[in-house]
Symmetry: C2
Subunit: 239 residues, 2 copies
């Protein structure tokens, strides 16, 4: 498997510009490429595909990489099949996954990524790279026929992972509780990626980048904290 | 319409026991009744139907009302059709709604409630009383064939409604942003019910109880704060 992925928790960390905190990793992912296809389907705050693509274009152009939006093509599937690299941005995960199915991009993305085309995602775009969207934080604002996602990796991701606020009086479930409930109905591992964290996947090798540890949840086990220097290879096995 | 509903944001507020903060309103809802049917399908933290029903039983028995769990009946639909009153507890909204459909309880609940059977919900049980589950905070840990809910009221509810933390560095969407995204795809009003708040609905009259205002979101309008003394009747009209 010649996978080449960068799965980023959030596009923008507190106090830094759009994609800025991941510049080094993005440049490493896209080494030797001069263009990237942007998929704006997740439409954060409901912005248009054009406006979202214009926003995504800014940092890449600074880095010498041209950006086109998949909505600019008459045949989005063909655009994916011919892209040098693909970037799926954040927003609403349900809206995103529904549009990926409606535009018949799921299989095309799987085939291209499995043959080595660089893929990067932020937030919802990282979520859909997993096995299902079952660990999204988003509201189910549109229905999707299945929660099965792109399955570029055999585990689930929870982006924007948050630790409980120590002094909170809020009674809603913590992220840990929600993921424990997920494991009553699903068995794949879940990686809680804190803001500023990202996973770099090359073939079967997984590396954690960014300043934080990642919280990993296996069915029927206590959550574990993994450091960037730890071995994550168990995530690509079994399941 | 002889509706008689109590839709509670959370079963337990910070510092009070299970259902304690809503005792007065629950007693008013169940006046003259001696039993209630509990639907434990939402299984918070994955607990069993039996354990959840045992938990729910405690406060009601203190108030002189007997509790049976719907899972104790061979024919759950018949149990709903013969119940004096129904209570759906919180947990995971997707698991709950899927079980309501699988056990063929949706139509039975709608018919009984529209004929005046008292209904109370907390959290997920309040969410499913709305038009759809599109404004739940829960993770989509199981797939449901439709997000259409019980539609006991013609609007959506967001339980555990939270205002943004003023000093937060978290970049995930605020509740306001999530509901604004919902309104790019759906037109029904959304009531943000803070913890400690509840809606009492009798026929077409809606009253807000509890110590807080409720935040109401209409499509294409700015969110509005409504006090307990305000008129909410617009929520039962149109749409």
């Amino acid at each position: 498997m010649s996978r080449n992925l960068l799965l980023i928790s959030t596009s923008t960390t507190h106090g830094t510009g759009y994609l800025e905190h991941a510049e080094e990793e993005i440049k490493a992912l896209l080494q030797g490429k001069s263009s990237i296809l942007f998929i704006p389907y997740a439409r954060p705050s409901g912005i248009s595909h054009k406006d979202y693509t214009d926003k995504a274009r800014v940092p890449f152009e600074k880095w010498g990489i041209s950006v086109t939006g998949v909505h600019e093509y008459d045949n989005p599937e063909k655009a994916v099949r011919e892209a040098e690299a693909v970037f799926i941005g954040g927003g609403n995960t349900f809206v995103l996954l529904r549009n990926l199915y409606q535009n018949k991009l799921v299989q095309a993305l799987q085939e291209r990524v499995n043959k080595g085309m660089p893929y990067m995602g932020t937030s919802a775009g990282t979520n859909v790279a997993g096995k299902t969207i079952g660990t999204t934080n988003d509201m189910p604002i549109v229905h999707v026929k299945t929660f099965d996602a792109l399955q570029l990796v055999p585990f689930n991701i929870n982006p924007h992972f948050q630790d409980p606020e120590p002094n909170s009086k809020h009674m809603g479930e913590t992220r840990d509780t929600r993921i424990a409930e997920f494991h009553h109905h699903n068995r794949q591992p879940v990686v809680g990626l804190r803001e500023g964290s990202m996973l770099r996947i090359q073939g079967d090798r997984i590396r954690l980048h960014g300043p934080h540890t990642a919280r990993i949840f296996l069915q029927s086990e206590k959550p574990m904290e993994f450091k960037p220097s730890d071995d994550f290879s168990f995530l690509t096995e079994a399941y």
